[in-house]
């Protein structure tokens, strides 16, 4: 018994130092007879036990930067500018790691009964880096700038649904063209950083309200920051200075982390994770994000217009094998609808679909298919490891007596000639911040990107009903029903969700994985600290 206690203490100490991942901790403590729930709670407590340490210089090595990058929030599109924006700027609200709306520049959000009019109360005394405090007018000017086509904003699709914006005192009122209960989640989009005067005069000034001020910016190379002494929230911004280094080369990025030149990096290649686990100074962090790899069938084309055949194929794929072999274990199984735990209002009680050769064979027999080869088109670039995944799928399907055949297509022209054209092919989705946006983009009958030709009137009704539903429990119920409809009748085979895989030095404290986005949803530099 004592021995067990000693081991548990040791593991808690390791977790506290950040040397053990949650999964590893839970796995090893449950092996000692601790319940999984208790193990999870112990881990969270250990990870949070340390008080933030102030001071020092925290460095982030990041991919996806170029000398063409700009500080203009509207034009940000890749990991490097994304992390830079998150460090100097702030939105009205954020989405927390548990999928709730977290107040930032707005301190209160409310809407009318049918979710067509939203009010954001602006926090008083939030200072811009250059001086002056945030007013409701600044907020309206910012949102208006993103609606202007000239600004070429990545958030245009989000703000163009707002028909009227008004500022009154410390209150911003947004009227929507149609009801949307998800507006706070959408307004948390990283492009929508509040800038003085809306940033109309100089959108790339890099002046915002974030925990750090930009001190120098060499696009595509390095951006340096110093602490914003007047920052309103003491739980963010622990280091004195932070730096973002662009290291586009995967190998060099990992080497920089190992050598300690940077404290955190994004996008660790799953192939190198095993090698890195031998380095005591480095911790690999994972977060189950909303991105997923898929095989898509057109529900309106033979033989895929037969739901028994679709079901046979869904039962004939070995999801665990794909997660293990294609993702190197760094992901989770999908359940034939495009939503996972990364989304708010996800129903985790829907049973996981498993590989079942007998059931697949039975469904295939029931479909009355003539036994001619079923063709799956795939290209290496459909998603990383797509051809391997398709071959594994074919072999498990053949074992169930389904004549699935692979046809490998060239990457060149795949997205224009095969995807959304061929009746059965491989593809991927990066995910969306909320369920409504994901379903609306690709599974509504009228959606332009309905790449499974899934058309279900009841499903559409539910989707529209959920948009105006402000009661969280009721919405969750609606989304659960939609998920079940898709899972059982849809054209989507979603075998796996791929994790965000990132690395940090062991001396970095305060890391809390956030499924919403890479590098703790972009806030790694703001929320972490150096323990040594």
């Amino acid at each position: 018994m004592n021995d067990k206690h000693n081991q548990l203490d040791w593991m808690i100490a390791q977790a506290r130092k950040g040397r053990m991942t949650r999964r590893e901790f839970v796995g090893r403590t449950t092996a000692l007879g601790v319940s999984a729930t208790l193990a999870g709670a112990l881990f969270s407590k250990a990870a949070l036990a340390d008080e933030p340490v102030k001071g020092g210089t925290l460095r982030l090595g990041v991919s996806g930067g170029g000398s063409t990058d700009t500080l203009d929030p509207a034009l940000s599109a890749s990991p490097s500018p994304y992390n830079i924006l998150r460090t100097w700027g702030e939105c009205l609200v954020d989405v927390s790691e548990t999928g709730t709306v977290e107040m930032r520049i707005a301190e209160e959000v409310s809407s009318n009964a049918d979710a067509t009019e939203w009010k954001f109360k602006i926090r008083q005394g939030v200072e811009f880096h250059g001086g002056g405090t945030v007013t409701a007018d600044d907020v309206v000017a910012t949102l208006k700038r993103h609606t202007d086509e000239k600004a070429q904003s990545g958030a245009l699709g989000i703000v163009q649904g707002i028909s009227e914006m008004t500022a009154d005192g410390d209150m911003v009122t947004l009227k929507l063209a149609s009801a949307n209960a998800d507006l706070p989640f959408l307004i948390a989009d990283y492009h929508l950083i509040i800038q003085p005067g809306g940033g109309v005069d100089n959108p790339a000034a890099g002046v915002g309200t974030g925990p750090y001020k930009v001190t120098s910016n060499e696009p595509g190379v390095v951006t340096t920051f110093e602490k914003n002494a007047n920052y309103w929230d003491s739980t963010r911004g622990h280091a004195d200075t932070v730096e973002i280094l662009v290291i586009n080369d995967d190998t060099a990025r990992v080497a920089a982390l190992q050598a300690g030149q940077v404290h955190m990096i994004d996008r660790v290649d799953p192939k190198t994770v095993a090698t890195l686990s031998g380095d005591a100074g480095v911790v690999i962090e994972r977060a189950a994000g909303p991105g997923h790899y898929v095989f898509i069938m057109h529900c309106d084309k033979a033989p895929f217009d037969n739901n028994d055949l679709r079901m046979a194929l869904k039962l004939a794929i070995n999801r665990q094998e794909l997660v293990d072999k294609v993702l190197g274990g760094l992901g989770s199984r999908g359940n034939d609808f495009p939503i996972n735990a990364a989304y708010p209002l996800f129903d985790d009680t829907i049973p996981q679909r498993e590989y079942d050769a007998a059931a697949a064979a039975a469904a295939y027999a029931k479909s009355g298919h003539d036994g001619s080869p079923i063709l799956l088109q795939v290209a290496p670039g459909a998603f990383p490891g797509a051809v391997d995944a398709a071959n594994l799928f074919a072999s498990s399907a053949n074992a169930a007596g389904i004549p699935l055949q692979i046809q490998v297509e060239p990457d060149d022209g795949y997205w224009s000639n095969v995807w959304n054209v061929a009746p059965f092919c491989a593809s991927y989705w990066g995910g969306r911040p909320v369920q409504d946006q994901m379903y609306t983009t690709a599974y509504l009958s009228t959606a332009e990107w309905n790449d499974t030709r899934f058309k279900d009137a009841h499903f559409d009704e539910l989707l529209l009903a959920a948009r105006g539903e402000l009661d969280g429990a009721k919405r969750k119920g609606i989304y659960s029903e939609m998920a079940n409809i898709m899972r059982d009748t849809g054209g989507l085979i979603a075998p796996m969700f791929n994790d965000w895989v990132e690395g940090r030095r062991a001396e970095v404290g305060g890391w809390v994985a956030n499924p919403q986005g890479t590098m703790m949803n972009g806030f790694a530099l703001s929320k972490c600290w150096l323990t040594a």
Binding site: T70, L75, G220, I247, T251
Partner: protein, 318 residues
């Protein structure tokens, strides 16, 4: 006018004329690319009205000749315009990056050129014997490695096994000279590995070629030591081809080291050019293209002039 001075003036004038021709070629090449800059910027979201507005804003609605003369006029007055993607002033961006490019190339050259010539002389002196074979084998191995592989080797050995240097060559304004030198040590090592063999082999071949001459036999018969023969009599007569290949490698160090810059995240012109080509930022591509062309022309011209000066027959034409 002294014939040598006349020659230099002629060559410089010819070089400038060539640069003008190249500026036309660069401009036409960019013009020949499908689609225009406005389309490249707006992408899928291009509406006819937005395209027309943006073209007018950037002067793309003017005839090609007008735009060329405008561009040329800008370049002659030192105004390279602004990048289309992030509106940064091109001349300002280039000046800092060009400094870094020259610093890296210069540091590599200071090590590589004397080393290559010394090794070449040694290899020629001991032609066919073990020092020659070792030198050739080692330098040919390093040149045969693709640059990124050499870079990974260097990163592995000098940042992981022996943690002496940092894998990312971060050079910030305000860093001291030695600090900067320490930061770029790894790319310098890689570049030296890459350019050494070419210059070494050329030096060796040129000297061995001269060694067949009658006057070398005379020198040997006078009783000079083999090293004295090589150094006093053979090498001065082999300078022209050696200088030509040295200049070629210097030009490569300035314009051809994109891969090394990317692996070490070094802030220099090659990476700047590649980033802007992918975004179709044409004013930058034109400006950097012209600078690279100028470097090539200048170094080749220098090789010619030094070659002529080193040869009395060319120095005193009839």
């Amino acid at each position: 006018m002294h014939p040598v001075l006349k020659l230099v003036v002629q060559r410089v004038a010819l070089g400038l004329l060539l640069l003008l021709v190249i500026s036309v070629v660069i401009f036409l090449g960019v013009e020949a690319l499908p689609g225009d800059t406005a389309q490249a910027i707006l992408g899928q979201s291009a509406t006819p009205q937005a395209l027309a507005n943006l073209r007018a804003e950037m002067g793309l609605d003017q005839p090609a000749l007008t735009r060329y003369l405008h561009w040329l006029g800008g370049i002659l007055t030192g105004d390279l315009g602004a990048a289309l993607t992030n509106k940064a002033d091109i001349a300002k961006s280039i000046s800092s990056k060009l400094g870094n490019t020259l610093f890296l190339a210069g540091s590599a050259a200071v090590i590589a050129v004397p080393l290559a010539i010394l090794l070449g002389i040694l290899a020629a002196r001991y032609a066919g014997r073990w020092p020659d074979k070792v030198i050739s084998a080692v330098t040919l191995t390093t040149i045969s490695l693709p640059e990124f592989v050499a870079a990974y080797f260097v990163i592995f050995f000098l940042t992981q096994v022996f943690p002496i240097f940092q894998p990312v060559s971060l050079v910030l304004p305000g860093m001291g000279f030695w600090e900067k030198l320490h930061a770029i040590a790894l790319p310098v090592i890689v570049l030296v590995m890459v350019v050494l063999a070419h210059m070494m082999r050329m030096t060796r071949a040129a000297i061995l070629n001269v060694m067949q001459s009658a006057y070398i036999e005379t020198a040997e018969l006078k009783g000079l030591s083999p090293m004295q023969v090589v150094w006093r009599h053979a090498f001065p007569n082999a300078i022209a081809p050696v200088v030509a290949v040295v200049m070629l490698n210097l030009a490569y160090l300035v314009v051809g080291v994109v891969v090394v810059e990317v692996v070490f995240s070094y802030n220099a012109l090659g990476k700047y050019l590649v980033d802007h080509v992918t975004k179709r930022d044409l004013p930058v591509v034109q400006a950097v293209g012209l600078i690279f062309a100028a470097v090539y022309i200048f170094l080749n011209m220098a090789a010619d002039i030094i070659g002529i000066l080193s040869n009395p027959r060319l120095r005193h034409p009839k």
